[in-house]
Amino acid sequence: MTHWLSMGGYWPYLWPSYLLTLLVVVLNIFFARRSLREARAEVRRRLQMQRSET
């Protein structure tokens, strides 16, 4: 296991690469979902305003 983790001495370059990629993958999911949620909230707000107008 430690042998595998050391990646033939390349671990200081390899693991940060994988971690960064994972981080960006997760953040993209998070931000995409948040943007959809915000769009829905925005629409709800707008519909409420329209209803209160009429």
């Binding site: 390349y10 370059y13 390899l14 990629t21 960006v24 995409a32 915000e38």
Partner: protein, 246 residues
Amino acid sequence: MNWVWFHKLGSPPHFYRLAGKMLPWFAWPALLLCVGGTYGGLVLAPADYQQGDGFRILYVHAPAAWLSVMVYSAMAVYAAVGLIWRINVAHALAASCAAIGASFTVVALVTGSLWGRPMWGTYWEWDPRLTSELVLLFLYLGYMGLRSAIDDTARADRASAVLAIVGAVNVPIIHYSVTWWNSLHQAPSVMKFGKPTMPASMLIPLLMMLLGFTLYFVAIMLVRARGEVLRRERNAHWIAAAAEET
């Protein structure tokens, strides 16, 4: 030729529903392929005879670099479709691409330079691939900057569409010029992808990662595009139901 599907896809409620239904069909295969590809790349694939275990950075660097270029092309195509046929759904798709593409361009740059450290002995080498990647990042940032500088969504859509198309015409020229410039000053780069001699145990995880990242991008884009479609739809009745979903 039957163009009904094209017009149907351009109808926001249809797209919104379809995107919601298609999402799992992209998301789950993407997850499986990426997990499998990572396992294959980190464990099953043998160490490279020249670069040892360091070459395994390839399994994240190559998909990120592929996405950075592919997403820009997709964005330009959506932009052109939106501009020519005035389809709002296409503009919504283009708008969802930029942030994803830019983030993977950053990943490609950082993993490229982390890979470069053991190979070149320095974090930054003016390698043609990395330099083009850097210019591509500037193109993404310009696109996002222009979009955020215009308040009116419809105008922002059209203006940024023009920029995306101009940029897409330029990307191959930039890449060619940077490669040409580099060949004058430097020895060829150590990073060569798609070596035909690559054994299957190395190649298959790479292909899995490339496909997995592509499906992942489509999934993320669909989620974002659903939101962008809602933002662009002003008075339709269908959004009332869509807004109540959580």
